[in-house]
Symmetry: C2
Subunit: 236 residues, 2 copies
Amino acid sequence: MPAEALQIGLLLFPNLTQLDLTGPLQVFSRIPGATVHLVAKTLAPVPSDTVLALLPTTTFAQCPQLDVICVPGGAGTDELLGDDETLEFLRGQAAGARFVTSVCTGSLVLGAAGLLRGYRATSHWSAIKHLAALGAIPTETRVCIDRDRITGGGVTAGIDFALTLASILADRTTAEAIQLILEYNPAPPFDAGSPASAPPAVVAMLDQRLVAARQRRADAVSRAAARLEAAASAQA
Amino acid sequence: MPAEALQIGLLLFPNLTQLDLTGPLQVFSRIPGATVHLVAKTLAPVPSDTVLALLPTTTFAQCPQLDVICVPGGAGTDELLGDDETLEFLRGQAAGARFVTSVCTGSLVLGAAGLLRGYRATSHWSAIKHLAALGAIPTETRVCIDRDRITGGGVTAGIDFALTLASILADRTTAEAIQLILEYNPAPPFDAGSPASAPPAVVAMLDQRLVAARQRRADAVSRAAARLEAAASAQA
């Protein structure tokens, strides 16, 4: 256990997918010596994609330098891709962090902040293709480790991601003990967790339902990619 | 999709294990036509086992009749086993609910309320043996369905439980679509999710660490069992 507390921060923002956050939060909270922060612009409750509003524990301004910064995903990431205050906060923290991480479409936000240039990264299956436009190398895997960037796949991949990170931050035995106390011995009642395994009719139904959301995301990524390019040109 | 909204309520109480709640919450929130309530004694934020405080959406007094009542688990359930206000609320809701459910040690609370007499039920691996003292039939399974009582195992079993329940409340295709959007295609990095699979040293370490908590739970269950028996004698 480190003599000094390990500072782990999870970003809160409107319309995040709460399980992207709460899965890793459960795991991180069990790492001996870890202090976990829920960081938002202000201390006001942050609406999630469910009826659960999330209470921040600190603000961008008050947040200590983090050892681990983690960005969860959700529909709300579309908005964040163009949010300078958030992208600036992430860049500032990333400069001093040991690990820069995400779950689900949180990786698009890291990408929009210019933090994944040249790094392999993953995302929700519906969003992974967008990583390339933001300078990352899309990598279809549930947990993607490339140097100090660690990204998880969609929503529930956050649990696998967090256990992997726990084994790096502490050790394998600690991660296994966390897995045991959380009885993480998954037994999905159906085999529909990826587009490859789900019944084609289910994939088609979701594709249909997500048309508008996909367009919003594609537009947000295009704008973020253009901004990244402009910033790079300005620097050159 | 039902013409009338399906009312699903999750119980909030101090020191619950937040992932017991937030896993099922994520799944339930995606069931078409479902309205989800986070029910507590008052609207004040409820501390969880992590830094995340949980904001109720309604109170015992204001809560509509629920179709599904779900009690999550955590160390805080020890206190609930003797909490008349909570047990009375659960009995009242259970009388009109279609399904009476729990995750993790939430089943001990259902048991203490007298709602599992003669029902098969499951719980967190460390607590399942206590179900017998509360009149239930301990059943080692990740999701246990006995008539209108549906109970899930420890913490992360809440996701498997909720997907199972979604398939019952809606249909299998709906549950599969929820599984797909949540990318619930688990790949635990270690094989330590149950005492049977975890390395013996990890099980021994946790056993050691949980000595005091186990004693508190055993005492709380003994008192609850005595109260159940006294209530049964008084009725006889």
